[in-house]
Amino acid sequence: MDVACGTLISLIFFTIIRVLWVVYQTGKALRPKSPKSMNTLIVLGSGGHTAEMIGVLSTLQKERFCPRYYVAAATDNMSLHKARVLEGSVDDTMGDRGATVQFLQIYRSREVGQSYITSVGTTLVAISHAFWLMIRIRPEVVLCNGPGTCVPLCAIAFLFKVVGVRWSSIFYIESIARVKKLSLSGLLLYKLRMADQFYVQWPQLQRKYPRAHYVGCLM
């Protein structure tokens, strides 16, 4: 009994130490000897969010962020279509591109207007699906800019860091529509220190959230 108790206490102790260490390391720039291309997860949201993300992606060097996995909500066909246009593979005949670019859909835990009772079930489905996707992708870079779907994915990426499955760098770009206050997703990732780098598009937001970086307007 004492042994079991001791094991449990030390397990909890080491978990806490590990979590604190991961939080401490989060936000520290990588110093690779010879940088190579990185497994990249791109979380797309609806409308304006996707337009902003496409703008950022078109300035990033494709060969550095490769392979790329685009994820959007299963109910959102427009975003993946826009990503396909960006990648120049609208017709779905990917050929050898298939290995470097993938377009994936993720279940949302709750659709607008859905009741809270049924959403318990759908949340469980959404979480297991998110885990399944993340285990398959094991991203080294996560790029997201606001949709609610990015929070569970970032939480899983953080868990992977703690467990030691995969170290990833999480970049969060707050939408241009947020001038005075962060979105709920942004606030969570900022407060929980899950994002390695946090970008805002208005100087007054940077003053309010000093760990954020001001990058000017992306639209």
Binding site: A29, L30, P35, A51, K181, Y199
Partner: protein, 176 residues
């Protein structure tokens, strides 16, 4: 006749976006707003009403006022924006930036019925920087009366290179 008609045509395009915004459609359909638009030299009013239930009254040009037409949704919103002389839009960031990119004078009308009204933040900030006008449905006619299209500033080109540079540096990729 057709040609000269096109030349003198000055269209105001009103858009509510992908959902509905009856308060806006109702506001542009008022006598005050139509009168002010006509006084400013606009001849046509084209309203995209979305899923709204308020139907504006169609009218021709003959009665010395703006002619009014409407539709629910269209895949060619971009064409309507391009051929407009003035755009009156809901406060969604997609519509706002699409219009600003085309260099069209823009009045953004904030929907006060939305629960999470962070939308007004963006419109007010951009109005403060003189890229557009920001109004409420009930103040729209005043905004149009005081409209000075020439005083608006062109919206500068956006630049994603600073953020790309920071991401690259963080990951240890060299600058190039």
């Amino acid at each position: 006749m057709e040609n000269s008609d096109k030349k003198d045509r000055r269209t105001v395009f009103v858009t509510v976006g992908t959902t509905l915004f009856d308060a806006l459609v109702r506001a542009v359909d008022t006598w005050e707003v139509k009168k002010e638009l006509f006084r400013k030299g606009y001849t046509h009013l084209l309203i995209q009403i979305g899923r709204g239930s308020y139907i504006p009254t169609k009218s021709g040009t003959e009665d010395g006022s703006v002619s009014v037409e409407y539709f629910t949704f269209s895949s060619s919103i971009a064409d309507h924006l391009r051929s407009a002389s003035l755009v009156i839009s809901h406060a969604g960031s997609g519509s706002i930036f699409e219009t600003l990119r085309l260099g069209k004078p823009l009045i953004v009308v904030v929907n006060e019925d939305l629960m999470d009204n962070h939308q007004s933040e963006l419109a007010e900030e951009l109005a403060e920087r003189r890229y557009l006008y920001c109004a409420r449905p009930q103040t729209l006619h005043q905004t149009i009366a005081n409209l000075e299209v020439e005083s608006l500033l062109p919206y500068p080109a956006s630049d994603a290179t600073p953020v790309a540079k920071m991401i690259n540096r963080f990951l240890g990729f060299p600058d190039d």
